[in-house]
Amino acid sequence: MSATVPMPSRLTLFWRSFSENRGAVFGLGLMVVLIIVAALADVLALHTPIEQFRENFLTPPAWDVEGNWHFPLGTDDVGRDMLSRLIYGARLSLMIGFSVVAVALLTGTTLGLTAAFAGGMVDVFIMRLVDVILVFPSLLLAIVVVAILGPGMFNAMLAVAVVTLPGYIRLSRASALVELNRDYVTATRAAGASTVRLMFDTVLPNCMAPLIVHATLGFSTAILDAAALGFLGLGAQPPTPEWGTMLAGALQYYQRAWWVLAFPGFAILMTVLAFNLFGDGLRDALDPKLKR
């Protein structure tokens, strides 16, 4: 008997095609580092993010002659350790990204599936709403929403979730409409499945690939927009160690102390880059149509 070659599992196939993309692997690596840093913030950080060492304000990073290893990346204007704040900021940023994506994904998918299943006026209404939201530049709409609800991290997250809804609605509606005409859906319906069951149990699992990709890329949008709101003073409020808020606080000192400006922004850039690279790789690996 000849030995049968086992079919590689779907995960193996996915990894093979994903790991061809060096950028995507780099992004995944960065993400893993970020998640570890965020999870172990209490262990890794030398100080708490809000402890003020007043006698050591605006200390340069350790490699500078005036710096010391007590504060590896220096201190800010009231003597808080930059590195510790950045580490706790990673936790906040990932939390913001995750919450925004979770809310937008859940609400958007529900609305999209409802539009696809209900059709008629409901569909028209939901899609008109999407068109209206898309007419506003997303950052502007988020700014207006926060200006009205009042500044704060929770409202900023809510605003970003609202402005990112259209993508999820459109994607889930479009893929559900394709699936609705398939035989297995007709069969399940004939077997007496309820509409809710059809929506979430039968159709949704087959629409997941594009939604997963969009959600991954949505992480970076969420983190970037929330940081922009923080920078404008509309997001998380001081002394919260949110990266965008830290940048806003650095505005008065940055000409004197470059490190209060450089590091938080670099952290935002690297986080957003990680999710963008990972999301691009995921799209190429999950969507065979786009493969070279």
Partner: protein, 325 residues
């Protein structure tokens, strides 16, 4: 004509949002200090906030259609006149940013496609994904730190140095200073524009380069390119006339669709560089709790985006004969 329902939806949304303000815009503006109840009632009456909601919305809709966007509760100027004085600054900046992104992004994308798989290609794609991930509010501050504070090459903020007075003839500083024939003012205007242009243009530049590269790669694989090469046409002619012209069709759409994001980015860029444009004005309106300005300014930007999208659709059918009927 999907514009009419979209327009009504946009006005309804901007109306609803403003009415979600706790209390009403007058009360929010007055804040904790408080004023005499009679004065509050008079102000409410003046701005129409004592009417039933549906009546306010109908009035608002009628006003908007007549081009009346209300009056700033801070300056008492009409929102429209404030917008008109500030908008040229935003257009000037946005045009320069788009121009910068197109002039650099498209050639880079073409070269990357022609040299697919080389170090140049990988380097450019790495740079473009980084550029597209850029928090531009930080990028702008870093540029100021390096080029303005460090090297002293460019000014930190504003549109033109206070040393010069330029007659605001068109509102576009580049045109006005050229018209005024004052070399110093021109040099000052250009040097003030450089950093904001680069900062606002960074994300579009990254997107255009990536888009051009993938569109070029697709077109370069077509039969008609092989035919053109087989006819013995020069490489340059095939690249520019046969390939680039077709590759530009999707790129033009991306350029048009980037206007919304550009106006969003302008809010951040104008805030960093104290650029006296519409974005700066909207952020200030939030700080001053000037809700009519926030509402009117947002609505005007949305209308501009609708207009640009419509223009892109029409341009697309001109550029792409395949969808012309």
């Amino acid at each position: 004509m999907l514009i009419v329902p979209t327009f009504i939806g946009v006005t309804l949304l901007s109306f609803t949002l403003i009415h979600l303000v706790p209390g009403d815009p007058i009360e929010a503006r007055v804040g904790e200090r408080g004023i005499a109840p009679e004065r509050l009632a008079a102000l409410r009456h003046e701005f129409g906030y004592d009417q039933p909601l549906w009546k306010q919305f109908v009035d608002y809709e009628v006003q908007v259609v007549h081009g009346d966007l209300g009056v700033s509760v801070v300056t008492r100027q009409t929102v429209w006149s404030e917008f008109l004085t500030l908008f040229p600054a935003t257009i000037e900046l946005a045009f320069c940013a788009i121009g910068f992104a197109v002039l650099i992004g498209i050639p880079l994308g073409v070269v990357a496609a022609l040299r697919r798989g080389t170090a140049f290609d990988y380097g450019l794609m790495g740079a473009s994904v980084t550029g597209a991930s850029m928090p531009i509010f930080w990028w702008g501050l870093m540029m100021i730190l390096v080029f303005s504070v460090g090297f002293g090459w460019t000014p930190v903020s504003g549109r033109v140095s206070d040393m010069f007075f330029v007659e605001p003839w068109s509102g576009f500083m580049l045109i006005d200073c050229w018209w005024s024939d004052d070399d110093g003012a021109c040099r000052s205007t250009v040097s003030h524009l450089i950093l904001p242009t680069i900062v606002l243009g960074t994300i579009p530049l990254a997107n255009f380069a990536r888009m051009t590269r993938s569109a070029m790669l697709e077109v370069l694989g077509e039969d008609y390119i092989r035919t053109a090469r087989a006819k013995g046409l020069s490489g340059m002619r095939v690249t520019v006339v046969h390939a680039l012209r077709n590759a530009l069709i999707p790129v033009v759409t991306v350029i048009g669709l980037s206007v919304g994001g550009l106006l969003g980015g302008a809010i951040l860029t104008e805030t960093i560089f104290a650029w006296p444009g519409v974005g700066h004005w909207i952020i200030e309106s939030i700080q001053r709790r000037d809700y009519p300005v926030l509402q009117g300014g947002t609505l005007l930007i949305a209308i501009i985006v609708i207009g640009v999208n419509l223009g892109v659709d029409m341009l697309y059918s001109v550029l792409n004969p395949r969808i012309r009927r």
